[in-house]
Amino acid sequence: MNTTSDQRGLFGVSGSGDTSGYGGLVRTKVSPGSSERPYGGYFDDVADSLERAFPEFNEAIEKVVIDRDQLTLHIRPKKLVEVAKILRDELIFEMCLGATGVHYPSDTGRELHVVYQLLSITKNQRLNLEISVPAAAPHLPSLTGVWASTNWHEREAFDMFGIVFDDHPGLTRILMPDDWPGHPQLKDYPLGGVPVEYKGATVPPADERRAYR
């Protein structure tokens, strides 16, 4: 299991005393860690074929996570394109459906993650590729040369998280205006909003409200 972050208190109070009695509560949040063989289902087949086709399996693949019946391969950025090509040509994952950027500020040295979702129509299988890069140097190779569909999805991840996909044919913002400062879906980017007066009371914007965590 991986520890993602420690959390203090329960009510999201900051800047004032927490009189709830839960202020000293520390909860450790854990996310599923690396899985061990046998993985079950078709996941073993995927791993076997990948190992056969790719002798440097252990160098390229950091860990294999099986969680809730879904397979996620954590790939080192340097080997990403090689692994992707093998997955496409030899394991017949014909389609890359998209890419999700994620920001984990507490995951020091690997704050920014990208998750690609792959589908094999021929074998009716799915898997995810997860790649993590440091926020200080958020570079990883683009997969547009392997699956052209990743073009816009990578542009979105760049727009929203500032992740730079090297060799991308046209890495520009896609949803935000070209001159927009910052990358809106980073966790330290404020949601924005103004306080709203409602029946005499003032309701702060959603990201400044007291809320359970």
Binding site: K29, E94, L97, V115, Q117, I121
Partner: protein
């Protein structure tokens, strides 16, 4: 260049050449003026405010005469930051946001999100049968209403006004059903993690049966109007060609992929909500063009009506809960549809305020705090009218989503614009984009 100032088609000089702004007025004047420049290559900016671009889509077209040599899309004009907003609300509130993404297929957004949350919670098997049937029925009705808009607006954009009138007329029947069942015509927030918000109101089954009958009858009008119609064929046959290799590379799913002959449908390959127990066919065509996609949409509406029939039968014969048993997850509010719309049931308010302190505490805790979802990530896909709609939901174990990403089929499919339009005629761009059926609310989220 311009001798007289035309307020509708003014021009100005830039380093790239003369720029004309066309906002109405006499088209002939502009054509004469451009004709005088001896310039063959024109870069045409179309939209984002344009009646034929299917929403706030901006097309940047490089044309030589009538031939499109390059086509690019500009999107983002409807970006609302829904994904970011989700990170600041609890898991149940998320439904209210995701339903607004692809606003023509709200039930698909809701179901994809809820299936993902349920998978994270590990309660997929505990969803009551009746809730799943309701989800399937609403999704299939929604597929029809969405396809109707696709055909209606597509028709409008190429000049077939009657197709538009027919499409919106039929869609109204379905929206009335949605209003009856969920209280709202759009943005329902009806599907919730754990089930659905409330059971069918009294008399709903009879109304649905009647509506399906009317739909079956009325859909024939569109069929008779467009199938085999030589004008419609002239505008759509062979237009927007994209074969299976192109679709696979570009990650295209839905009617565009099925128009290449490949029966790719998430409902069949990886069923959810019990789709494996329904009897229906995956419709395909082999023409790879806009007409094939139109035929697929027409036939899919028939298949959807078939599924709705089966749902109605199951709903009529089986009653049961529509929300999960687990009181730690099932929203406590008993909703009731009043004269002023959907709200808390007065009986429920009476119970928690007057008779049961525990029920009040429980209600308060669940509504203000919500439930916690174990950490992890899942990607769940459903077959929306436009293709694979995927919800990638990540939890850090808290009461709010850590990150939600929607893989919206419109967003992905718009990438095919260049492949479909380049080398074709300018007028065919409209037909090709209409056959992609992008919904900008889903594209920009």
């Amino acid at each position: 260049m311009s001798t007289t100032f035309d307020p509708y088609a003014s021009s100005r000089e830039t380093t790239e050449g003369t720029v004309y702004s066309v906002t109405g007025g006499d088209w002939d004047d502009l054509v004469t003026e451009i004709g005088a420049t001896q310039e063959e290559r024109v870069v045409l900016n179309m939209g984002p405010q344009h009646p034929s671009t299917h929403g706030v889509l901006r097309l940047i077209l490089e044309i030589e005469g009538e031939t499109v040599t390059e086509a690019r899309c500009g999107v983002g004009y409807l970006h609302t930051g829904i994904e970011k907003n989700l990170e600041f609300r609890n898991w149940t509130q998320g439904v209210t946001f995701v339903t607004r993404m692809d606003y023509l297929s709200p039930f698909f957004n809701e179901t994809a999100y809820c299936l993902a949350v349920e998978k994270l919670l590990g309660i997929t098997d505990q969803i009551p049968e009746r809730a799943s049937v309701l989800r399937v029925m609403l999704m299939e009705l929604n597929r029809i209403s969405s396809h109707l808009v696709a055909i209606a607006t597509g028709g409008l954009e190429v000049g077939a006004l009657t197709a538009m009138i027919f499409g919106f007329r039929e869609r109204e029947i379905i929206l009335d059903l949605f209003e009856l069942i969920s209280g709202l015509r759009m943005n329902h927030a009806y599907v919730r993690p754990g089930g659905v918000a409330q059971d069918l109101p009294e008399g709903a089954i009879a109304t649905i049966i009647e509506a399906v009958k009317t739909l079956r009858h009325n859909l024939k009008d569109t069929e008779k109007l467009l199938i085999g119609n030589s004008i419609w064929l002239a505008r759509t046959d062979g237009i927007g060609y994209l074969d299976i290799a192109g679709c696979t590379q570009l990650g295209i799913t839905g009617p565009i992929m099925r128009a290449t002959g490949l029966p790719l449908d998430v409902r069949k390959i990886q069923p959810y909500c019990g789709y494996e127990t329904y009897d229906f066919d995956v419709v395909t065509a082999t023409s790879c063009d806009a007409y094939g996609r139109f035929l697929i949409r027409m036939n899919e509406m028939e298949q959807s009506l078939r599924i709705v029939d089966q749902c109605v039968e199951r709903l009529a014969n089986n009653s049961g809960p529509v929300m999960i048993e687990d009181k730690k997850i099932g929203w406590p509010a008993q909703l009731a549809l009043g004269a002023d719309g959907l709200g808390n049931s007065l009986d429920h308010i009476k119970e928690i305020m007057g008779t049961s302190m525990e029920a009040l505490i429980h209600h308060f805790k669940l509504v203000t705090e919500g439930f916690r979802v174990p950490a992890g990530q899942v990607y769940v896909a459903v077959e929306s009218p436009r293709g694979e709609l995927g919800a990638h939901v990540i939890s850090d174990g808290g009461t709010k989503p850590y990150r939600v990403h929607f893989r919206d089929p419109s967003f992905n499919n718009l990438q095919a614009t260049a492949a479909m339009c380049e080398g074709g005629q300018l007028a065919d761009v409209i037909a090709a984009v209409a056959s992609i059926d992008p919904v900008m609310g889903g594209v920009d989220r």
